[in-house]
Symmetry: C2
Subunit: 358 residues, 2 copies
Amino acid sequence: MGLFRGVRPLLAAFLRPLSASAPARSLALVYERHGEPARVLQLKDQERAELGHFGVHVKMLAAPVNPADINMIQGTYALLPDLPAVGGNEGVGQVVEIGSHVTSLKPGDWVIPIDAPVGTWRTDAVLSEGSLLKIPRNIPLLCAATLSVNPCTAYRMLADFETLEPGDSIIQNAANSGVGQAVIQIAAALGIKTINVIRDRPNLQELVHRLTSLGADHVVTEEMLRKPEMNDLFKKVPKPRLALNCVGGRSTTDMLRHIQQKGTMVTYGGMAKQPVTVPVSAFIFKDVKLHGFWMTQWKKNQTQNKDRLTGMILNLCDLIHKGQLTAPVCTEVPLKDYQIALEASMRPFTSSKQILVM
Amino acid sequence: MGLFRGVRPLLAAFLRPLSASAPARSLALVYERHGEPARVLQLKDQERAELGHFGVHVKMLAAPVNPADINMIQGTYALLPDLPAVGGNEGVGQVVEIGSHVTSLKPGDWVIPIDAPVGTWRTDAVLSEGSLLKIPRNIPLLCAATLSVNPCTAYRMLADFETLEPGDSIIQNAANSGVGQAVIQIAAALGIKTINVIRDRPNLQELVHRLTSLGADHVVTEEMLRKPEMNDLFKKVPKPRLALNCVGGRSTTDMLRHIQQKGTMVTYGGMAKQPVTVPVSAFIFKDVKLHGFWMTQWKKNQTQNKDRLTGMILNLCDLIHKGQLTAPVCTEVPLKDYQIALEASMRPFTSSKQILVM
């Protein structure tokens, strides 16, 4: 084996298919074991997978750092990849080359991955046709890079649990999160009023202003949520039929108290790392329903028929195109500076989403 | 006015319709203010309401003392009657006389009241045709007296939240309650396996034996519910698709841990006076759904169309007739000895339902 050691790269270059215009290598943020992302992630120069008949070579353009990506690397998420793995599960890429049996995509198309775990923090990937969804190229790059998790979560939670009509209201905590901002904008586009709960903070008015400019009808702090003044608010807006919960603990119990008779609360996150606590009377006498939502699972359930997924993505792109749905506040960070992005994304009260650009 | 004072009763007797065979009086357990039942209830000789064209004179035969009756008298229930009120909301009576416009009932029929609050702890009542449901007379009196709350609650919870097939399993706490015993029997008749959680107690084996004889497949204590040995149980029976919760607090969280992916927990009581606490992960990654059930509200929702209610009652009577559904262990107490029944029904670990007989 020693004989060929120095020859191999040359041999590999020689054997590369003529059609392959891009180098058969990829720079990727790889982790070989679970742990703190800053410690276990390494930027590696990897050999790209073979294209084969069914593969699609995607050049990644931009990929965000989401909380679930961090938890997946830490090993605390409900879905974990085989190791070693490439970090990241969302992003947008451009098709460079397709296998001979690929029919629905062509070079130049913008695509987003719909499977998880996938590994989007790399310059190049070869993925299967079925794991990619083509999106229009008339939307901003950062919107495309952050389309498939947060706006989709917001869209489904608004669509699938209660039949909301214009003039109805919903309430949500963690309203300044990526999902929260998408909820505000999609609801506003549909004429649904939003009551948005956020934690108190030094620059509160700045955040209230930002959420209001996105279309938030009411912004309240968690402390205000417990005060009798909330009754005044409900003279202006109907009690919410739907509550979206990303926190847990007291925030959630307080929010639930304002929900309408027979309303639904959907839990999609647990930022406070505390359980959801519900008085028995809310179930029996108020007939509230508590459900959960996980976008990853929803997407997995669409593998047989992608019509609902495609329809949703096109609806969201339409909102983006009309200026009714914008990307969250983002900070673009070159892939090689990933340590800066990781550090910023794990800082408390971060309101800017870190986007790795390749 | 004074002139006629002594004449009035005579005049009233003279004006009474000839068809009225029973005395126009009723002995009733009345409360004029909310408070501890033993203190505020009084046995009173009351004038019965006029029959009118639409009234049905019902001679009550037997009426149970349910926990909700106690809470209603205490003033802590979600539904309270105008005061003064007659206690009790369940029972069976026999039609004595009907108003001229009553078409669906005739003297001799057995009836159960379907409205609440109603006041069943009395010898005679005049009720509207629409508030009564005729039941077959081929079932035991104590079954009829205890039919409209607990067996109906059990029936609806088994029917309305998950589509259960023979061989599926359900789990319930407070399994020795009135509802719990009905759940065991109805589920057994349908071929659905039951995992029944009860509190540890001095005469545990006796209770286990009784529930097993009703058709319980598995009986476990709340302590056993937390032990790894539960995994052995789930080698014999599938994980439950449905959990029925009448307790709250730790019992409920422990029960929820054993539910199947995408399963449903229905809360219909809160005996522990503690809230329901759910880990966020159960909502997101296990996709469990939490709902509530209140029989009183369900019945109110059927006022326009009683087909589902009638169908359920006939199904339950059929199970009773076939010996598949029995009354809970009962103690019959004459109406005048109501203090004994109240005291017994409020004692902890009471396994015998107190039935007032008129």
